[in-house]
Subunit: 379 residues, 2 copies
């Protein structure tokens, strides 16, 4: 039982890994190799785009050139760099609704106009996106989380990805594809990335692919990265230089030796299974407690998140107040909506607690929700 | 002989440590302790102000509260955070001339008015600073490098520090004291920090102290820090949160175990001696080659830099062109001057090359300078 749970509170709020998911022994071994092999370079100042061997490893994985890779301390700061660079281009920004709250608040801090496009378990609202493009909008870029989407946990089908790529090519639209969770698949088949589809069509210049080792290895190392058109990579690296002179090369060297040492596949198998059991615990309890109560929830094939949609008359903020008294928390929907909305939705993160805590937390949540449903006469 | 030197070029340009200065074996040991002790916390997301045990260590060293400490990936980004936070206050910014080029260009990127104050081997131009304050200027803050100043290598005398503190208290002036090199003293007695003098006068609220483990341990870990008034520390931490969500906690844990393991004192003794020998090599050759030629140079008691002032009719940019052809580089003065000037000055960094390379580089520099001096009829 975790510290939080011992203190009585079970959190479905923060999207962070559980300590038992860290491959600490393998990282310790990788660190020793890094000290033996990279002490002269990775302990010093170095290139703003990151540690060269890791850039090469990532490039090879993505069939890209090392010059297309920029490694940053986490992928969030990379997103802020991208926004700074891409703000040079005119036009609004297409954003899924809902979307990652960090991206929503970031775009709120710019003066850029947002074109919201609904995203739910059925996919993307193409009619809306096509309407924008047909009426002459020229977006600077489109920000998407195609796989194990934050906050809904849903994944865009291959047909939707192909349709997006068609639109991107037809309208010269840059697709910024944020994929921190893609490697955490525990069920189902993996659809092609937007990047791979664009590259196959000779339109790699329209692709920015972002990911991170935060959810895959450990966030405390802060190793995120982007695969970008080379000219854009150079501009992002220039912003990185202005921001921190030199990135934390040392944790990049540690991650590199973890990858080069072949530790990743077995580690991924282990954490995928941990995540699958946690999703099962959550979804099973939601089904046991809320079936027939007018609520819906996603059942993701990977990642960290279940999206809970309550009956429309039920406020997630009100439910959260009840839940906090009952010892469970989550993030209510509105923070993920660039255009308002989400009042009856909740993001439930199942990564942090073990299955016993998740079951207990879900039971508390279900009891609070049923109490509210009785109150509004819906159950 | 280093890679650069083998390639024929000896660099007095970049202020970076030499690989042989990194305590790599001790860091490897510290890393293993960190994996044993901090895997559950420092591998995860965590507080934007940094790894708690390291905050406590730094606080204890400075007689401060842990809440006053913010740890950042290098101290440069901390300076940018400070500028963002302190821009809320009205007024211009007092800057030494010359000063750290990163700070000079940073302030150039803000709309803030600069009040330049000359800094040389005799100290600070107090008459100018007092004139600003007497004529009603209310600076937002004063940015200073009191010890082993970048670029001049000079150190403010205790009397000057006391005079600065008097002015700060008399005029409610915030002193931002940047001290990345203070621990690298290889000669002379250590004067009190501005922070310690302000605290002794009950005016700790007027002190921001910045430093870093980049020059003391290794820059690739990116561990810089500030000791700030608690309210300011909270505002800086909020900017850090907005910038990268969570800092690279892992290298902070590695640095913490290096410090807690008691590795620092012996390591400092070793690198101070390396630096002393390098300074000696540089200054000895300058004296042998340029005595009587109308040039002056600083003879620092620590840090990385010798400041060379050429006869006024000699352009450092012209000299650099000759030097590059002869296989030696340096940074000409103008980049360090917020108000223009520095045309006949040069920063010579003696940290990177070994004594043989430094001697060879200095000989090349001397030969080029004497060639120029003959050209302008000065030697």
């Amino acid at each position: 039982m975790s510290v939080l749970a011992e203190a009585g509170m079970i959190s479905f709020a923060r999207g962070i890994p559980a300590p038992e998911m860290f491959p600490a022994d393998e990282l310790a071994e990788a660190a020793q190799r890094a000290f033996a092999r990279h002490r002269a370079t990775a302990l010093n100042y170095g290139p703003p785009a990151g540690f060269a061997p890791l850039r090469e490893w990532i490039a090879a994985e993505h069939g890209a050139a090392p010059g297309q890779i920029v490694i940053t301390p986490g992928s969030y700061i990379l997103l802020t760099f991208l926004v700074r660079v891409l703000l040079d281009a005119p036009g609004p920004v297409v954003v899924e609704v809902p979307s990652y709250d960090g991206a929503v608040s970031l775009r709120g801090s710019t003066a850029r106009r947002i074109l919201p496009v609904r995203r739910d378990e059925t996919g993307l609202d193409f009619a809306r996106l096509e309407h924008y493009l047909a009426t002459g909008e020229r977006p600077a870029f489109c920000y998407l989380l195609p796989t194990f989407h934050n906050p809904t946990g849903t994944t865009l089908a291959t047909a939707d990805r192909e349709r997006l790529v068609d639109l991107a090519i037809g309208h010269d639209l840059l697709l910024v594809e944020d994929d921190p969770y893609g490697r955490l698949r525990f069920a189902g088949a993996e659809p092609p990335s937007l990047r791979s589809l664009l590259v196959a069509r000779g339109a790699g210049e329209l692709s920015v692919f972002m990911s991170s080792f935060s959810k895959v290895v450990a966030p405390g190392l802060r190793v995120g990265y982007g695969v970008l058109p080379e000219r854009l990579a150079q501009r992002v690296a220039a912003v990185a230089l202005d921001t921190y002179v030199s990135p934390p090369l040392w944790p990049q060297a540690e991650i590199y030796e973890f990858l080069a040492g072949g530790f990743l596949p077995a580690h991924l198998s282990r954490i995928r299974e941990l995540l699958r059991l946690r999703r099962d615990a959550l979804v099973t309890r939601l089904a046991a407690g809320l079936d027939g109560a007018g609520a819906r929830w996603s059942n993701p094939d990977g990642g960290y998140f279940v999206w809970l949609e309550l009956p429309a008359q039920l406020s997630a903020a009100d439910l959260l107040a009840d839940c906090e008294r009952a010892g469970v928390t989550f993030v209510p929907g509105p923070g993920f909506f660039a255009d308002g909305g989400g009042a009856s939705s909740a993001r439930l993160c199942f990564s942090f607690h073990d299955v016993e805590d998740i079951a207990a937390g879900a039971d508390r949540l279900v009891a609070a929700a049923r109490g509210r449903l009785v109150g509004v006469g819906a159950a």
